[in-house]
């Protein structure tokens, strides 16, 4: 409550000084922000972003339409232009379509499972109790650990003679191969879930913070049962943050190279040959740079769909602040 008040007064003040009564003053402010712009401050960042991001991006697009391999690597300026041949070859002669299917399905499954886990974690840590800080720190651990550490650890646990099979054996379940063969797909899904659910938890936590206490009181007066209150009062607040989290998490899963690479190595078993691994192997083990650039461009198009939705949804600006064009 006090925080909210403070926020209001701040907003009032800024509203008064920005668009308030004295017209002369506001015009002067506006003149300053427009005339005296230190646009040169953009130069270092802009230059670096152009040189190290935009130029390589354009080059990646160019590479996808030339016949580039290890022999022509250093002469890429004179390498023959072959149009869409790389794309045709990628689709008809390689595992590209299968990899897209593996990547997309595994990412969606992982996200679908992590959402309830993350939301549950956010809900159970919402009310304060002794030791809540410790629980919250524990929940963050999988997220904090570097992917390569997580993958290394799970790889060790899932070895044929490893601890997981040992435990399963004791319970009477037959040990399986986790890092090879058909089970490897589910291994990837499980480890990804273990590593990624705190991301949803964090975004859901931020969403829960926006639930007004008046809403709780109203629900309490109504005598709503807890699950009805959750479903009808609290979850609507989470819809926005969680859909955003859903998009971002799926994007992150699709782009994740480290986890499958460290878990299974490259080249990966056929069942976990996700897109990043396929691109990596095609360029740095088969040395077909042009072909793999075409694959990378296809994966860019693939992630462009959720990315576009995300960019439309996210708030780029504080709407009442100056400078919106």
């Amino acid at each position: 409550m006090p925080r909210k008040n403070a926020g209001n007064t701040l907003q009032d003040e800024s509203a008064r000084s920005a668009g308030g009564p004295p017209p002369l003053k506001s015009r002067k402010y506006k003149g300053v922000t427009e005339r005296n712009r230190p646009l040169w401050l953009l130069a270092p960042g802009g230059l670096l972003i152009t040189v190290i991001i935009l130029i390589p991006l354009v080059l990646a697009l160019y590479m996808s339409v030339i016949d580039l391999d290890q022999y022509t690597l250093r002469k890429w300026l004179t390498t023959p232009f072959i149009g869409i041949d790389n794309f045709v070859e990628a689709i008809t002669k390689t595992d590209l379509l299968r990899s897209i299917w593996i990547s997309v399905s595994f990412s969606v499954i992982a996200t679908v499972v992590t959402v309830p886990l993350g939301v549950a974690a956010a809900v159970v840590t919402q009310n304060p109790y002794r030791g809540r800080a410790i629980v919250r720190a524990v929940f963050l651990i999988p997220y904090i650990l570097p992917s390569f550490v997580v993958a290394t650890v799970w790889r060790t646990m899932l070895q044929p003679d490893g601890i997981v099979n040992g435990v399963l054996n004791n319970v009477g379940i037959d040990p399986t191969l986790w890092l090879n063969g058909p089970m490897s797909y589910w291994t990837l899904v499980l480890v990804e879930i273990w590593a990624a659910w705190p991301f949803i938890y964090l975004l859901a936590l931020a969403g829960l913070q926006s639930v007004d206490s008046e809403v709780h009181e109203a629900a309490a007066i109504d005598g709503a049962l807890w699950w009805r209150k959750l479903r009808e009062v609290v979850f609507p607040y989470l819809k926005g943050p969680v859909s955003l989290a859903f998009l971002l998490a799926t994007l992150n899963h699709i782009n994740n190279f480290t986890l499958p690479y460290v878990l299974f190595g490259a080249p990966a078993p056929a069942d976990v040959n996700v897109l990043p691994i396929l691109v990596y192997v095609t360029s740095f083990q088969s040395f077909r740079f042009g072909l793999s650039a075409a694959m990378a461009v296809v994966s860019l198009i693939l992630i462009a769909i959720p990315l576009f939705i995300y960019l439309r949804a996210v708030k780029l600006d504080v709407s009442d602040d100056g400078g919106k064009k």
């Binding site: 712009r37 990646a60 971002l248 992150n252 994966s299």
Partner: protein
Amino acid sequence: MSSHTLTHPANPARSKSRKSRNSEVTRLMPTWLIAVLTTLLCILVLVPIAYIFLASLNSDIGVARGEFWPSEFSLESYTKIWGSVGLGKGIINSLIVSGSVAVVSAIIAIGTAYVLVRFSFVGRLTMLRGLLGLQSIPGTLMLLPVFVLFASIGSWVGITIIGTLWGLFIAYLTFALPFSTWVMVTYLRGLPRELEEAARIDGASNLGILFRIIVPLSWPGIVVSGIFAFLLGWNDVLFASIFTKPDTATAAIVLQTFSASQEGGAIPVYSQMMAAALVCAAPVVILYFVFQRYLVGGLTAGGVK
């Protein structure tokens, strides 16, 4: 607020009962369910974590046999890792590259973010959108052209980039820069403009405002954007696997050599691997818990791990 604080010491019992009633109102679940779910989630997280610690204290053979509880505890693995694969060198390389990426991208980010947040110009929204979009570009898509450029520069100018830490530094900047800038943008947005406006009336220049007002006020943001840039470098395997040679390998790559070394049929060195994994994770975990207050908010700002 103030009246409440005044009455508080007078009758603690009443205020306590009010507080508990309040928490009763905002309670989202029955206590037993909270306890069950919390326990399950903690088990999910802590069992693998406990395994890493126990395995790192076990012997290599013990871990390979599938023991959870070591038959004998020893710190031997923690001493072996420095000699067997050169983890120390890897950690130093990682610290150098990630540290310099963190410093450079944080410095550049604050200037860029300041202009983006406070001034209007054509293409501003496009730049903001671009900053966000660039973070989702697949690493593999960037790796190819950067590799080709580095290789070509090597043969055109005669400067070797691949295999040096410089190559990694530039590669990591491609991801750290948009990310740090976005983190700074979200931070600077929250700063009130009044101080800047007052300084401007007093005749301060743009640079003066940036260094005397923005920078001192946004230390938390700068720290967060620096830490995230550091983590990008520290956690990377993709670029490091191509751009390093044994001499310049980062910690992440050195850790992989444990699994490579067992492929020749040698005894797997799982215990050392777990010890090394913990050592690689330690700087990251320490950074998080030291700066936890700032980081948790920032985690969701960029939205990308």
